[in-house]
């Protein structure tokens, strides 16, 4: 009987939450938080990025709490974030000074500072390594450390941006630095047309899959075709805040790992063609998302009807928390609204001439029809 489902909610919820512990208990194995944080780093990166909170410890903790579900983990971090007062904004971080661990360009073979392949799965064969089933973790650690000790340390080289060269040549437009206060999407509702700071913040926090699908649609033909990754760099940037008691002084609060991408595509100039630059940046090493972001950023500047060119469509539908919240709410009871819909549908089936007693009869008849289904 339908009604039982909505009464006794309290006990049902409590039992359901206890059942989650059964799901989480597994076979009693240890799930060390430090292992989740250090060995599932790309998962941590994705969760932190979509949550908009750089907190590797908490990201590991919430993943443990929710059986590794990305959207639940993002949800938990975001909700926690709401309870924290906003004390400082950092100074603008200059990614030119990034301590780079990976840097590639698909536009030029030789770039100043050099290409640094770094760690990437790009050139692995995707074959399952069955020997990992019996891997000795300490032996693995010993081996990688040994390899590290044989290396000669080299001073970091300056890596100017690839786009700087093209800007000097006039192929990419140069803009005056915009030091106006950025729009904060966590404290204000987005308005359209959105300022660029709002666009980039929204894309940086967007669901990885959503952004990937959109960028893919651009490459397949629902947009400008095939941009080139001018530069992808991953590394650590230092964060500073103003020292409140000293003019011009700063406090170093730490460093974060980010991936930054600039992609180049053709653009119409006044008389001749030029190149346009799309920008993407994400927490950690989630580099496909950074590339996708740069593609979509560029696409949003173009006029036309493709989905990825529609600012409101792109910026309003990519938030993990919002999309998953609204989709999951469909599981809530809708008895009242459905009853209202049912009433409207039934009324259209009544014969127009029917009224009074006759109308009542017609209604009973249509109900009978429903019962038989």
């Amino acid at each position: 009987m339908g009604y039982v489902a909505v009464s006794g909610g309290q006990e049902a919820i409590e039992a359901s939450i206890r059942l989650l512990d059964h799901c989480r208990a597994g076979g009693g194995q240890e799930l060390e938080l430090s292992a989740v944080q250090q060995k599932l780093g790309l998962l941590i990166d994705r969760v932190m990025g979509e949550a908009g909170l750089y907190a590797p410890d908490y990201a590991a903790l919430v993943l443990k709490q929710c059986e590794g579900c990305v959207e639940e983990a993002v949800f938990l971090l975001r909700a926690y974030r709401s309870t924290l007062p906003r004390n400082y904004y950092t100074q603008t971080a200059d990614t030119d000074d990034m301590r780079i661990i990976r840097r590639i360009s698909a536009a030029f073979k030789d770039i100043q500072g050099g290409q640094i392949l770094g760690a990437t799965y790009d050139y692995t064969h995707r074959l399952i390594h069955f020997d990992l089933k019996n891997e000795d973790p300490m032996e693995l650690l010993r081996r990688v450390r040994e390899e590290l000790e044989c290396q000669e340390p080299q001073p970091p080289k300056a890596c100017p941006r690839v786009s700087d060269t093209l800007k000097k040549e006039g192929l990419i437009d140069t803009y005056e630095p915009d030091d106006s206060e950025p729009f904060d999407v966590t404290e204000q509702m987005l308005e359209f047309p959105a300022p660029r700071s709002a666009r980039l913040q929204t894309l940086a926090r967007a669901d990885t899959g959503f952004l990937g699908g959109l960028a893919y649609s651009v490459l397949r033909g629902f947009g400008a075709i095939h941009p080139t990754v001018g530069e992808l760099r991953t590394g650590y940037v230092e964060l500073l805040v103003d020292y409140p008691f000293g003019e011009g002084e700063s406090i170093w609060i730490g460093e974060i790992l980010i991936t930054e991408v600039e992609c180049f595509s053709e653009a119409d100039g006044e008389k001749e063609m030029k190149l346009a630059d799309g920008y993407g940046v994400v927490f950690g090493r989630n580099e496909n998302k950074a590339i996708a972001m740069s593609v979509v950023d560029r696409e949003l500047d173009l006029p036309g009807d493709f989905p990825a060119r529609d600012e409101e469509f792109v910026l309003m539908h990519g938030d993990s928390l919002e999309m998953n919240g609204f989709i999951s709410h469909l599981k809530l009871p809708h008895y009242v609204t459905f009853q209202s819909k049912l009433d409207a549908v039934r009324k259209t089936r009544k014969k127009p001439q029917a009224s009074g007693e006759a109308e009542h009869g017609a209604d009973e008849e249509s109900q009978g029809g429903c019962n038989e289904e």
Binding site: V6, V336, K347
Partner: protein, 282 residues
């Protein structure tokens, strides 16, 4: 109440910001005020707009009632009450008359509310024009220009196709002759309760980041043509199988075994009160 959270979960700055948006909403009835909606430990789309309103308004003196589709015991209503209890110490009630704040999803209680009470409605889609125009940028201009031709046309098209206005819940209303407003997915049955009411109605949409309000004694008229009057859901000839009420919104219930169909008050607390009155009369 757990001491590791601030009273009402949100920090005081956020609560103040929400109250300021509420004041603006009250000053411009039916106008959707944008606000910086905060993430809550409850899903977006599960009443987070209403909860943010409740949390920003609630204080130790308050008595809270939460209903979902009319029921105090529905899983979501229970869950919201549990969350509010985690970060405040206010007592809860099922009796509408006892509450100072009633948070609701998809219903206005059957007992008329008074001028010392606030009804907080959870809103999934605050924009009444969204059905005809998907873009916020455009609908904002339409409101500014009071361009409501599209929504009237939609009503007219319904009439041409079906001979009836086929909108169910979320029936658009004109507020004080200025703004067309979505009353949230309350059934048409509840729409007249919004007009010239004693209490304050607050509408919160967390995911869409909007707050709007109907202050007491505001004119709220469902959109309808002069020759085709507004019609509520029709329950004529039916009554609640538990309390016998013939003037309430009824849930339709099937008995899976017998195939029998019967009706029951959607407002479960009201139904209980009516039954208690019957018993004390006997």
């Amino acid at each position: 109440m757990k001491s590791e959270y601030n009273y009402g979960f949100l920090d005081e700055g956020s609560k103040r910001e929400i109250r300021r948006s509420v004041l603006k909403a009250v000053a411009i009835p039916g106008y959707q005020v944008p606000f910086g909606s905060r993430e809550l430990p409850i899903g977006r789309g599960w009443g987070t707009g209403g909860i943010q309103l409740t949390l920003s308004l609630i204080g130790p003196e308050d008595v809270l009632k939460v209903i979902d589709q009319g029921s105090d015991e529905s899983v979501n209503a229970v869950n919201i009450k549990k969350f509010v209890a985690l970060c405040t110490d206010v007592p809860t009630t099922i009796h509408t008359a006892e509450a100072t704040i009633v948070q609701t999803r998809h219903r206005v209680p059957e007992v008329p509310m008074k001028n010392n009470q606030i009804l907080v409605l959870q809103v999934p889609t605050p924009e009444p024009l969204r059905v005809i125009e998907p873009k916020e940028e455009v609908t904002k201009k339409m409101h500014a220009e009071k361009d409501y031709a599209g929504i009237w046309l939609q009503l007219y098209e319904c009439l041409i196709r079906y001979g009836k206005v086929t909108i169910g819940a979320e029936y658009p209303c004109m507020v004080e002759g200025r703004y067309v407003m979505n009353p949230s997915p309350i059934p048409k049955f509840d729409n007249p309760k919004l007009n010239d009411a004693e209490c304050l109605y607050l509408f919160g949409a967390g995911r869409e980041k909007k707050i709007y309000a109907i202050p007491p004694h505001t004119q709220v008229i469902p959109l309808a043509f002069e020759d085709v009057p507004f019609e509520r859901e029709d329950f004529s000839g039916r009554k609640c199988r538990l309390c016998g009420s013939e003037d309430t919104y009824l849930d339709e219930i099937f008995d899976a075994e017998t195939g029998e169909r019967y009706y029951q008050c959607s407002d479960t607390a009201y139904c209980k009160e009516v039954r208690a009155r019957h018993e004390s009369n006997h």
